[in-house]
C-alpha cells in the first residue's frame, strides 16, 4: 500500500469514528444505523464507508451545490395561504435500505394496496362488508369522505386506486409498521423524484457505486396505469391541480412536466354532452383521464361540495357515463378514516384468509360499546383522535392522550360521553430513528432523529408496482412522540441498495414511438398566463427604461439644457408618468429616492419589482412549460430589483442596477426566442410582449413626441425606445419631431417601433388556431390587421397628439379582443358563479 493510500484509509477511519462515536440510539427506540449494542447494521456500513471517502469540506460543498440547484429551479413548497415560497428543506443523508429488507416491505405494501382496492369496490358496490357485520355502517355513514353520489358507480377500467401510499416506520421488533394509509391523493412522489435528482447531482459516484435502485421505470408504469380504462387509445391525461396556492403545487407542476401530463385547474375544464372537456385556444377538447390532486368533494360543486371553486360542475356525470377515468376515484379518501383501521384486521382475514403482513397500530372505534368499555378507564398510552377531520367550521378535538393533562382528560371523557362514535383510540407508536447531520458545537456528527417513510404503489397494467425509494421526512427534534410532522421537518431521499447492478431507465420509450411535432392543445388559462407573463416583463422593462432616462437626463450632461435639473419640464414629465403608472408613491421625491422606489419599491404597485413579481406569479402557474434557465433569469431579475428600502442607494449605483435588470430581461427575451418551441405557448408570450410594448411606446409618444415636444423630450423618447444609436447614424443634424416619430412609430425595421410590434401581432394571430371554418378573419384578427395597416402606410406628420391618443386606445382594444377570443375563462375573465339566494 502506498503512503497516500494508507493516509486515505486512515483519514476515512478517523472520519467515520468522529461522525459516529457519540451516536446513541434512544432506549427502547429502534434505530436504522445501530442496534442496542452499538453495532452498525443494515446497509449503513456500506454507505458510510463510501461517504467517508470524502472529507467534511467536500461533502459540505456538494450539499451547497445541491441546495443551490433547489433554489435556482424553484423546488419549493408553499404553506397554505402564504404567498411566499419556501425552499424545500433537504435532509442531509438518504435513508439507505438493503434490498432484502425492502422486498419484505414492498410485498406488504402491495398486499395492503390490493386490500384497499377490494374494500373500496365493496363500499361503493355490493356493500357486503357492512351487511356481514365486518364493518359498522356508522363508520361509513359518519365519514365525510363517503361520497354518496358515487355509490353504484363503477370506475372505468375497474380500479378505484391508481396511486396508494402508506406512511411507515420500524417497530421495536425490527419489522415495518404502517402508521397511516393514504388513498385520497397521496402527495410526495414528485418530491421523492426531485430529492433524487438533487442527491444524484451531489453524489453521482456514490449513487452509482452503491447500486441504488432507480425511479424512472416506476413513473413510466404509473403513467401507463393512469391511462387504463380510458376510452380512446391515445388518451389525453390531465393533472387536476387546486392551483398555485396549493401547498404542493410545485410538486404537481414538476410531475406534470416529468410525466408529460396537461396541468389543468377546474376553470380549464367544462362538461359538455355528458363528457369532460378542456377549454383550449383551439376550442373544447376531450379529457380522458384526470389525475386529481384536489380532495374528492371539491371535484364537483354541483353533486358534491357546493362551496368548491376548484372543481367542475357536473363532473360526476362523466364518471357515471363511464367516459372519464379519475385517479383516485372520488370517495377513495374514506379509507383514511381512522375508524376503518380498527376493522382492517378482521377484513383482511375475511378477504385474504390471514393477517396482514404489514400491521398498523391497534385501534379501537369508540362507537362500539365493547371497544369503549375496554379503553374508557385507562387512556394511558393511547392517542385519542376524531374519526374524520370534521368539515370546516366544526370544532376540532385532536388530542394526544399520552401526556394529556387532567383537564384535557376530563374534556375527552365528556366528549366520549356525548358522541363516542366520533373518536378512535389508537395505541401510541413511537417513530424509529435514523442518522442525521448535527452541527451543534461546531463539529459535524451524526445523531439519531425520528423519521416517517412514505412508500408509494402504483396500479399499473401489470398489477401493483412499488416505487423503489420514497419520500422520507425527518424531524429536527429528537423526541419520538408520534406527532404529525409539520414544523422543523426535513425531507430525505430513500436509497435501496441493490444486490445486482441496476439498469439506467429514463422516461424514454422503448420500441416504436409515435412522432409528433405539435404538443397538445394549449388550455385557455395557460395561454392567458403566458400572455400576461409577457406583458408584465415588458411592463417592468418600460418602468426601468423610464428610470434610466430620468437618471441619465438629470445626472449627465448628455442633454445639456437640462443637466442636473430635476425640475426641467422633461424630467417632470417622466416623473408624472411614473406617478401615473403607480411606480412611485409621491412625485416630488429626490431623484435617487424616486429611482429607487420605481425600481424596487415593494409598496408601489407599479414598480419594476412588483411587475417582475407579477410575472413570476404568472410564470409559477406555468412552471411545467418554462425552462429552468428562464426561471433562473426571472429569479435573477427579482434579486436585482429587491433593493433594501431601508438603505438609500446613490444614483450611480441605481443606474447600474437598472442596467443589470435590463440585461436580465434581455436574457429572458433571448431564451424565449432561442429555447421555446414555436407552439401556441410561445406565440402568447410574444403576443403579450408585443402588445404591451406597442401600448407603452404610444404612451411614451403622447408624452415625449407630442405636438410641442422639445429636443430634450425627443431625446428621452429615443432613449426609451433604445433608438439613440440608430437615430444618430441615420440623421446627422440632430433630433426633430417627424424623424423621431417615424423611427419610434412607423419604421418597420426598428424592433422597438409600434409598426414592428403590430406586424408581429398580426403574424402571431395568423399562426394561432382558428375557430371559423369559412376562412374569414375572426374579429380580433380584423382589429389587428386594420391597426397594422394604418401604421404600415401612415406618414409621420399624420401622427399628431390626437391621433396618438386614439391609437393608444385602439391598441388597448386589440388586447381586449385577443383576451375575449382566447381567454374566455382565464383568471382575467369570466368565472363560473354560484346561483345565490334561497330560491
Amino acid at each position: 500500500m502506498s503512503e497516500a493510500a494508507a493516509a486515505d484509509v486512515r483519514g476515512r477511519a478517523e472520519r467515520l469514528a468522529r461522525w459516529t462515536s457519540a451516536y446513541r440510539p434512544q432506549r427502547g427506540v429502534p434505530d436504522e444505523l445501530m442496534d442496542a449494542d452499538g453495532r452498525t447494521k443494515g446497509a449503513w456500513p456500506r454507505f458510510l464507508d463510501q461517504l467517508g471517502g470524502m472529507d467534511e469540506v467536500e461533502i459540505g460543498a456538494r450539499f451547497v451545490s445541491a441546495v443551490r440547484r433547489i433554489r435556482d429551479t424553484g423546488i419549493s413548497y408553499r404553506i397554505y395561504g402564504d404567498k411566499r415560497e419556501h425552499a424545500w428543506p433537504l435532509g442531509s443523508l438518504p435513508l439507505v435500505l438493503e434490498q432484502g429488507d425492502w422486498e419484505t416491505l414492498s410485498a406488504g405494501i402491495v398486499e395492503r394496496a390490493e386490500l384497499m382496492e377490494t374494500i373500496l369496490a365493496d363500499l361503493y358496490g355490493a356493500g357486503r362488508l357492512v351487511a356481514e357485520g365486518l364493518l359498522p355502517g356508522a363508520v361509513v355513514a359518519g365519514s365525510p369522505e363517503f361520497m354518496r353520489p358515487l355509490v353504484g358507480v363503477t370506475p372505468p377500467g375497474g380500479r378505484f386506486l391508481k396511486l396508494y401510499a402508506a406512511d411507515v416506520t420500524r417497530g421495536p421488533d425490527g419489522r415495518w409498521r404502517v402508521l397511516a394509509d393514504r388513498t385520497q391523493s397521496p402527495s410526495g412522489p414528485g418530491y421523492a423524484l426531485e430529492n433524487r435528482l438533487v442527491l444524484t447531482r451531489a453524489f453521482p459516484d456514490l449513487h452509482a457505486d452503491l447500486q441504488v435502485e432507480r425511479l424512472a421505470a416506476f413513473f413510466q408504469a404509473f403513467r401507463d396505469g393512469l391511462a387504463v380504462g380510458a376510452q380512446r387509445s391515445d388518451p389525453r391525461i390531465c393533472l387536476l391541480t387546486s392551483g398555485v396556492f396549493s401547498s404542493t403545487y410545485v410538486e404537481q407542476a414538476a410531475l406534470a412536466r416529468y410525466l408529460g401530463l396537461l396541468l389543468v385547474e377546474g376553470d380549464d375544464l367544462v362538461m359538455q354532452d355528458g363528457a369532460l372537456h378542456i377549454r383550449t385556444v383551439s376550442g373544447l377538447k376531450r379529457a380522458d383521464v384526470l389525475w386529481r390532486r384536489i380532495d374528492s368533494d371539491y371535484i364537483d360543486p354541483l353533486e358534491l361540495n357546493p362551496a368548491s371553486r376548484l372543481g367542475v360542475p357536473g363532473l360526476v356525470e362523466a364518471l357515471r357515463n363511464g367516459n372519464l377515468v379519475v385517479g383516485n376515484m372520488p370517495g377513495s379518501g374514506i379509507l383514511e378514516a381512522g375508524a376503518l383501521a380498527a376493522y382492517l384486521p378482521g377484513i383482511a382475514r375475511r378477504f385474504l384468509g390471514r393477517d396482514l403482513r404489514l400491521a398498523g397500530p391497534k385501534t379501537w372505534w369508540c362507537g362500539d360499546p365493547e371497544a369503549l368499555a375496554e379503553i374508557r378507564d385507562s387512556l394511558d398510552g393511547l392517542s385519542l383522535r376524531p374519526v374524520a377531520t370534521p368539515p370546516k367550521g366544526a370544532v376540532r378535538d385532536a388530542i394526544l392522550a399520552p401526556h394529556a393533562l387532567d383537564a384535557e382528560r376530563d374534556r375527552l371523557r365528556a366528549a366520549l360521553r356525548d358522541r363516542p362514535f366520533d373518536y378512535v383510540a389508537q395505541e401510541a407508536m413511537p417513530l424509529a430513528t435514523m442518522p442525521a447531520w448535527d452541527r451543534t458545537g461546531g463539529t459535524l456528527r451524526l445523531v439519531p432523529r425520528p423519521f416517517v417513510l412514505r412508500v408509494f404503489a402504483a396500479a399499473t397494467p401489470d398489477g401493483w408496482r412499488v416505487m423503489p425509494g420514497g419520500f422520507c421526512r425527518i424531524s429536527e427534534r429528537p423526541d419520538v412522540e408520534p406527532l404529525e410532522m409539520r414544523a422543523g421537518i426535513k425531507s430525505a431521499d430513500v436509497w435501496i441498495l441493490s444486490r445486482d447492478p441496476v439498469e439506467a431507465v429514463s422516461l424514454i420509450q422503448t420500441g416504436p414511438a409515435r412522432v409528433r411535432r405539435i404538443a397538445g392543445h394549449l388550455p385557455s388559462r395557460a395561454a392567458d398566463n403566458l400572455f400576461w407573463f409577457g406583458r408584465y416583463v415588458e411592463r417592468a422593462e418600460a418602468v426601468i427604461r423610464l428610470v434610466v432616462a430620468h437618471l441619465g437626463s438629470v445626472g449627465s450632461a448628455v442633454m445639456a439644457d437640462m443637466a442636473g435639473d430635476a425640475k426641467a419640464p422633461t424630467a417632470l414629465r417622466i416623473r408624472a408618468l411614473l406617478d401615473e403608472w403607480g411606480a412611485i408613491e409621491a412625485p416630488d421625491l429626490p431623484t435617487a429616492a424616486l429611482a429607487q422606489q420605481a425600481l424596487g419599491g415593494p409598496d408601489a404597485y407599479g414598480s419594476a419589482l412588483r411587475h417582475s413579481l407579477s410575472a413570476r406569479i404568472n410564470a409559477a402557474t406555468l412552471r411545467e412549460r418554462l425552462s429552468g434557465e428562464a426561471w433562473r433569469a426571472l429569479a435573477d431579475l427579482k434579486e436585482v430589483l429587491e433593493i433594501d428600502p431601508g438603505q438609500a442607494l446613490p444614483e450611480a449605483q441605481l443606474l447600474s442596477l437598472a442596467e443589470r435588470a435590463l440585461s436580465h430581461i434581455a436574457a429572458l427575451s433571448g431564451l424565449a426566442q432561442e429555447n421555446m418551441n414555436r407552439t401556441a405557448g410561445w406565440h402568447f408570450v410574444d403576443l403579450g410582449r408585443r402588445i404591451e410594448r406597442a401600448i407603452n411606446t404610444l404612451t411614451f409618444a403622447t408624452r415625449f413626441a407630442g405636438d410641442g415636444a422639445s429636443a430634450a423630450d425627443l431625446g428621452v423618447m429615443l432613449s426609451l425606445c433604445d433608438s439613440h444609436v440608430s437615430f444618430g447614424a441615420r440623421y446627422l443634424q440632430g433630433v426633430a419631431l417627424d424623424p423621431v416619430r417615424d423611427m419610434v412609430l412607423l419604421d418597420p425595421f426598428n424592433p422597438r417601433s409600434v409598426a414592428f410590434q403590430l406586424e408581429a401581432v398580426t403574424r402571431h394571430l395568423g399562426q394561432l388556431p382558428v375557430l371559423r371554418a369559412d376562412g374569414l378573419p375572426e374579429p380580433h384578427q380584423r382589429v389587428a390587421a386594420k391597426l397594422s395597416a394604418e401604421f404600415a402606410i401612415g406618414e409621420a406628420a399624420e401622427f399628431d397628439g390626437a391621433a396618438l391618443t386614439r391609437l393608444e386606445n385602439e391598441v388597448e382594444g386589440l388586447a381586449d379582443a385577443i383576451a375575449t377570443r382566447y381567454f374566455p375563462n382565464g383568471p382575467h375573465a369570466l368565472r363560473p358563479e354560484k346561483l345565490v339566494g334561497l330560491a
Partner: protein
C-alpha cells in the same frame, strides 16, 4: 287537504350568461302523508339537456343545462298535492333518547333509509359544543327522544328572534346561534346541530307552509315562501317539528325533500358562467282547494321565511 302550488324563481343578470347548469328540486314528493296529483316545470330559456337524477336518498332532481345566452333565467314549478297526515304522537311518548341514539349508531346495515346517515355533522351542520350544551337542558337522562325534541323546538321558538335581515343564505350556523336570530333555514340547522350533538338523528326538510292572509284581506300573489323544518328520528318513525313556528308538522306543511342539510335539498342549485352581479326574485303561492288563485301581486321575496 288539496293544494295548488306555484313556485316561480327568476334570476336576472347584469351581463349575458352563456352557460348554466342547474339541479332543481321544486316539486312535492310522494309519501310522508302526501300524494302528488299533478306537476309541471317550465324553464326559460329552453334547456339544451334535461334529465331526472335520483340521488342516494331516493330524491329526484331535474338537472338542466342551458347554452342559450340569456340575461334572465325563469323557472316555474306548478303542482297539485293531497296532504293527509296522522296526528302527532302523544306528548313524551316513545323510546328514551339514549336508546334511540345507540340503536341508530350500532344498527347493522347502511341502507339509505337508515337514521345513521343523519347522526353526523354535514356540510352545513357542523357540531359545536355551545349548541350541544344548549340542547342538554331538553334531554335529561331517560326522557323520550320525541319529548326532548319537542321541548327543544319550543325553546328555539321562544329564545330566537325571527329576523330576515339578521342572516343570509350563507351565514354559518354558529353565527346565527350566537345572534339568537335568523330565518327558518337557520333555526332548522341549529336544531339539527343541537340534536346531532347529542347523537339523536335529525334531518332537514324543505317544503312549503300554507299561510292564512290577514283577516278581511285577499291572498296576495307570490306572498308565500319556501319553508324548512326538522325531521327527528324518534326510534320508530321520523317526526316533523317546525322550530320557526313551534309546531309539529301538520296538514299545513307540504314536503318537497328531506336530506342531511340544505345542501342536499336546495330547491335550485346551479353554476352559471357570469361576470356581473345577479338578482334573484322568488314568488310562491300555496293555495288550498276552494280558494281562487290570487291575482294581485305582492312584493316579491328575496329570502324565504
Amino acid at each position: 287537504m288539496i293544494y295548488t302550488l306555484r313556485h316561480l324563481t327568476t334570476y336576472r343578470y347584469a351581463r349575458p350568461v352563456r352557460f348554466a347548469r342547474c339541479a332543481l328540486r321544486l316539486h312535492p314528493c310522494d309519501g310522508e302523508g302526501q300524494t302528488v296529483l299533478e306537476s309541471g316545470l317550465t324553464i326559460s330559456p329552453d334547456p339544451r339537456t334535461r334529465i331526472v337524477r335520483r340521488d342516494y336518498f331516493g330524491l329526484d332532481a331535474t338537472v338542466v343545462t342551458i347554452d342559450t345566452p340569456h340575461t334572465e333565467l325563469r323557472v316555474e314549478a306548478l303542482s297539485r298535492v293531497r296532504v293527509e297526515r296522522d296526528p302527532l304522537p302523544a306528548p313524551e311518548s316513545g323510546r328514551p333518547w339514549e336508546q334511540v341514539r345507540d340503536e341508530a349508531v350500532n344498527g347493522r346495515g347502511l341502507g339509505p333509509h337508515l337514521p345513521v346517515h343523519f347522526q353526523f355533522p354535514s356540510l352545513r351542520v357542523p357540531l359545536a359544543p355551545e349548541v350541544t350544551d344548549y340542547a342538554r337542558a331538553s334531554f335529561p337522562p331517560g326522557r323520550s327522544a320525541y319529548g326532548g325534541a319537542f321541548d327543544l323546538m319550543k325553546r328555539i321558538r321562544s329564545d330566537f328572534r325571527f329576523d330576515s335581515k339578521a342572516t343570509t343564505v350563507h351565514t354559518p350556523l354558529a353565527e346565527a346561534f350566537a345572534l339568537r336570530a335568523g330565518v327558518c333555514q337557520d333555526f332548522t340547522h341549529i336544531m339539527i346541530a343541537a340534536l346531532r350533538g347529542l347523537g339523536v338523528p335529525a334531518a332537514y326538510v324543505s317544503g312549503y307552509l300554507r299561510t292564512i292572509p290577514p283577516a278581511g284581506r285577499p291572498r296576495l300573489r307570490g306572498a308565500d315562501a319556501s319553508h324548512a323544518w326538522v325531521s327527528v328520528w324518534c326510534g320508530e318513525s321520523w317526526i316533523g317539528l317546525d322550530p320557526t313556528n313551534g309546531i309539529g308538522m301538520c296538514d299545513d306543511h307540504i314536503v318537497v325533500a328531506r336530506g342531511r342539510d340544505y345542501t342536499d335539498v336546495s330547491p335550485i342549485d346551479g353554476m352559471v358562467s357570469a361576470s356581473g352581479p345577479q338578482k334573484l326574485k322568488v314568488e310562491v303561492d300555496v293555495v288550498p282547494d276552494g280558494e281562487p288563485m290570487p291575482e294581485h301581486a305582492a312584493t316579491p321575496q328575496t329570502a324565504s321565511a
